[in-house]
């Protein structure tokens, strides 16, 4: 066992953990933030995507111990109270989700990517999401949501 301190969505969590504990298990079971989902265990599906120091990672492929001292953001850390983040809002407006299981990972991946590339083309958005699988939507509305979110964020208009 080993003691670690993780900072998730601006809040500190201390726990005694086994060295093998995955970051996703820490986020879900210790921090109780169940918005981060597990879909494949092999870092193919991206449902567990979070950001670590601003960069997207698949939290099923990071040990909790490796995240010590890093700033983790999960889907729960995005909205400002009742006010949705522009990416969340765009997903709602463009029907970018059906069952909602891949959605947190998609949004977290988009959060990172739009920081890197605030004015992406459709093809760039598609490539940025190639590590995130969705079985419901055929991706078209997810891609459209992210393109719309990019526009909202460029305009800096987070309320409409």
């Amino acid at each position: 066992m080993r003691k670690v301190n993780l900072r998730i969505n601006g809040k500190d969590y201390a726990a005694e953990i086994e060295p093998r504990l995955l970051l996703v298990t820490f986020i879900r079971d210790i921090a109780g933030l169940t918005g981060t989902h597990i879909g494949c265990d092999t870092s193919n599906c991206g449902a567990c995507t979070v950001t670590m120091d601003g960069k997207s990672v698949k939290s099923c492929t990071v040990l909790a111990a490796q995240a010590e001292g890093k700033e983790i953001t999960t889907i729960e850390g995005l909205a400002n109270g009742e006010e949705l983040h522009p990416i969340q809002k765009a997903f709602w407006e463009h029907h970018g989700l059906q069952c909602g299981y891949c959605t947190p990972g998609m949004i977290m991946q988009a959060l990172w990517y739009l920081k890197l590339n605030p004015s992406p083309t459709e093809q760039e958005v598609r490539e940025s999401l190639s590590g995130n699988l969705c079985r419901c939507t055929g991706y078209q509305n997810i891609v459209d949501s992210i393109l719309a979110a990019a526009e909202y964020m460029r305009k800096g208009n987070q309320t409409r």
Binding site: G35, H37, C99, Y101, R135
Partner: protein
């Protein structure tokens, strides 16, 4: 192609002028409008409650020990090492499962052989990944550790993997009492097939494989159970599309009254048919919770889902078309061998039966013979996967139509047009006895060609880039939805004293957006804002019974049950309002939270006020029962048959054989649409799954029954970069199958996309002198076909006759 030129001209003209009559009706109220989903907020903010997210006090964690062999004699299970871990609470094997029954398979009938299916393997393993033991631990990681420590002694036996080989008398039997592994044999004939064939000018024969695929919902399966020993109440949380059936089957298996069992289906991360059947894990986890007196949860890993979650499709198909030389089809013979897997599950029988029944698609042919063999193999059982039997039928007939056109040197669209059921013939009785009440394939196809301009677009591409390989493929599809009458859907609508409307529905939505679509129906009926309507579902305590969410049936059945319940509420409220307004109940209008009569619109009463009155017997008209709660169980008299036309343009890279779909167009007739935003979303996702089967997906078993691609690294789901944009629009013919006039949308894309894509690739390969191929059309297969053809450089004029899919 002469027809291509004609279509370009007519298409360009059509773009300029508006059609005389609209192809789709304009919405009156909220139904028909793209209302944004009311269920999204919590899913967007990480507040969904999927099975893994449900907290239970004192929770224990389960892991299953699964067979590494496809067929083996189970000799001994040693759990001493597993039990020795301080985290292990219990290890259960088949011997420990006292008093619990087997999983149901089909009922005995002529030509139908049931099998016994134990919860945990008793003496013989019949598929890779079959559960042998159940380990319960205090921690999920420790449960996995303990499962690895369970020492199982197997005697491997020779499995039977290929369904065709399975039918040989020399093959091993999956179940000793079923000779040749044929669990079900069904032969049906309509008309005079032999004379249709003997009088025809030719016969086209096509053999195809519709490969087994995994539904692969993004959330794997899971079960949790909690038992209250005092009240003997058992609560099950399960990823199920069919909570009430699970309750009934658990009741029989666990020998507990249904009244003591609650099944809750929480938020679910997709299902696509894989979460219909009752699984061994449902029984085992319930049993463990009862035995241990503590809540137990099992969450399936992706590898387990690939091994032990049901697969879909899995058919070896042969079709013969007796035809005239002008392309008219005169008779059909189809033979289906279905790879049912290890047990006689109802899915393994009923799904390929649907293939046989729908094999003539949208074509007018009455002399039809179908023959089905449901064959058992040492694989996980087959069950539904989006479309369940109809994609296989559509694939077979739509490939055959192209092959016939190729054989006769005709345009595949011309062959289709010659054989379409003419719109004047609706309602049309098919050879299999179904009544297609409405449809118009010619209209769907011409609308598709006009709107998409695919014929001119592919010609332009070929002209501009003569060195590149482009293909254009079509499918004109139909399917059967609204299954009934023996699968009623239920709904209740109530109105509280404060005027809040509460809707409860049966089944269990998992991405379809029922919260939104059902609220739209109720909002229109009761004239209240969508914001004042709430919806509950997925809990067997809410309604006495309901059947499953599957088969593109929720809008038609659940929607109708909701509408009828709302109408009953409205009728009762009208009587109350009429008394308060001193008016005639039949004259009253419900609008914007107000109730008034058309004759005296200035005299109004608030919806809320009438609701309150319903709770005060003193204010009610004599004989009227207080409160507002109305329930409806709806079983439709006939099925519905949506249809449409899809087209896709692909490009093949001759260097690598990679297939890239460039653009996808669809025109569907799904009847009335409740919410076009949701309907289009269903088409997008359906097309992605159809494309997945055509280009990427197949569960690959080797001869020893090992699954070679049991993870998402090797089993390729379509990703963002595999998908083209999809352009969807509609035509609408009226159905009277239900009062909402809806036909069902959930499976359309999956059914239509697979043959359209393969036809497109064949078109591209045909242009390069290629040959017919099996699915999935992986680059290697396409490249080999291209390179072998360029070596031999022979004519492919008769290549389609007698095609064999190589799979």
């Amino acid at each position: 192609m002469a027809s291509a030129q004609q279509t370009i001209r007519s298409g360009a003209a059509a773009r300029r002028k508006k059609p005389k009559t609209p192809l789709v009706k304009k919405p009156q109220g909220l139904v028909g409008r793209p209302l944004k989903r009311v269920e999204d907020h919590r899913l967007l903010t990480g507040k969904g409650k999927f099975l893994a997210d449900i907290p239970l006090p004192g929770l224990l964690h389960a892991a299953f020990v699964r067979s590494p062999y496809a067929r083996a004699r189970l000799k001994h299970v040693d759990s001493v090492a597993a039990v020795s871990l301080h985290t292990t609470i219990a290890v259960f094997t088949a011997k420990d499962l006292h008093g619990i029954g087997e999983l149901p398979t089909v009922e005995e009938a002529p030509e139908k052989h049931p099998t016994k299916r134990p919860v945990l393997v008793q003496d013989e393993v019949r598929y890779l990944g079959e559960a042998v033991a159940l380990v319960i631990s205090t921690d999920p990681y420790a449960a996995e550790d303990a499962a690895e420590l369970v020492d199982v002694d197997y005697e491997p036996l020779e499995p039977v993997v290929d369904p065709i080989e399975a039918m040989l008398p020399s093959s091993p039997r999956v179940h000793e009492h079923i000779p040749n592994n044929i669990a079900y044999h069904l032969k049906k004939e309509n008309g005079d097939v032999e004379s249709a064939f003997s009088s025809s000018e030719g016969v086209l024969t096509l053999e195809l494989e519709n490969q087994r695929v995994s539904p692969a919902p993004l959330e794997p399966r899971g079960v949790a159970a909690s038992y209250d020993a005092g009240s003997s109440d058992l609560t099950i949380w399960s990823t199920t599309q069919d909570p009430h059936s699970l309750r009934a089957i658990l009741s029989a298996g666990l020998r507990l009254p249904e009244a003591k069992i609650t099944v809750i289906a929480p938020d679910m991360g997709g299902a696509f048919g894989q979460k219909i059947s009752v699984y061994p894990e449902d029984f085992a986890i319930a049993f463990a919770a009862i035995q241990l007196g503590r809540p137990v949860k099992w969450l399936e890993s992706r590898r387990e889902n690939m091994l032990a979650g049901t697969h879909g499709r899995g058919q070896v198909q042969r079709i013969e078309l007796a035809h005239a030389n002008d392309g008219r089809v005169l008779g059909v013979k189809a033979k289906i061998v279905s790879d049912g897997g290890a047990y006689s599950t109802s899915g393994a029988f009923e799904i390929p039966e649907l293939t046989c029944a729908m094999v003539t698609g949208v074509y007018d042919v009455q002399d039809v013979r179908t023959e089905l063999y449901s064959v058992l193999t040492n694989k996980v059982p087959q069950d539904a996967y989006r479309g369940a039997g109809r994609p296989e039928a559509c694939y077979l007939i739509e490939r055959a139509m192209n092959a016939l056109a190729h054989k006769l040197g005709l345009d595949p669209l011309e062959v289709r047009r010659k054989n379409f059921i003419p719109s004047s013939k609706y309602p049309y009785r098919t050879a299999s006895g179904y009544i297609y009440d409405s449809g118009d394939s010619l209209l769907a196809l011409s609308t598709l060609l006009e709107r998409s301009q695919v014929l001119s677009r592919v010609n332009e591409l070929r002209k501009r880039f003569p060195d590149r390989l482009f293909g254009l493929g079509f499918s004109t599809w139909t399917e059967i939805t609204s299954f009934g009458p023996d699968f009623p859907q239920t709904a209740a609508v109530s109105v509280t004293k404060e005027g809040e409307v509460m809707v409860t529905i049966g089944g269990h939505p998992h991405g379809q957006g029922h919260f939104t679509s059902m609220i739209q129906i109720v909002s229109d009926e009761l004239g209240v804002e969508p914001g004042s309507i709430s919806l509950a579902e997925g809990d067997t305590r809410l309604l006495p019974w309901s059947s499953l969410t599957a088969g593109s049936r929720s809008a038609a059945l659940t929607g109708t049950a909701v509408l009828l319940s709302a109408r009953k509420v409205k009728s009762k409220m009208s009587v109350i309002a009429a008394k308060l307004l001193e008016d005639n109940p039949s004259e009253l209008v419900f609008e914007r939270g107000q109730i008034y009569s058309m004759a005296k619109p200035e005299r109004r009463i608030a919806f809320k006020e009438v609701a309150s009155a319903a709770y005060l017997p003193s204010k009610l008209p004599e004989g009227l029962e207080p409160t507002l709660y109305e329930y409806t169980a709806y079983a439709p008299p006939n099925f519905a048959f949506p249809s449409g036309a899809h087209a896709v343009i692909v490009e093949i890279d001759p260097e690598t054989g990679a297939v890239r779909p460039l653009e996808y167009h669809a025109v569907d007739d799904v009847g009335r649409v409740i919410n076009p935003l949701l309907a289009e979303g269903q088409v997008h996702g359906g097309v992605a799954q159809g494309l997945g089967q055509a280009l990427l997906e197949k569960v690959v078993y080797d001869r020893s029954g090992q699954l070679l691609n049991a993870g998402l690294g090797d089993y390729c789901l379509p990703s963002t970069t595999d998908m083209p944009r999809i352009n969807w629009s509609r035509t609408e013919t009226v159905t009277y199958a239900n009062i909402l006039g809806v036909k069902g949308i959930g499976e359309a894309g999956t059914i239509a996309a697979t043959p359209a894509l393969v036809n497109a690739v064949e078109d591209a390969l045909g242009a390069a002198g290629g040959e017919s191929l099996g699915m999935p059309l992986l680059p290697e297969l396409v490249w080999k076909s291209l390179s072998s053809k360029s070596r031999t450089a022979t004519s492919s004029s008769s290549a389609h006759e007698g095609d064999r899919a190589s799979g």
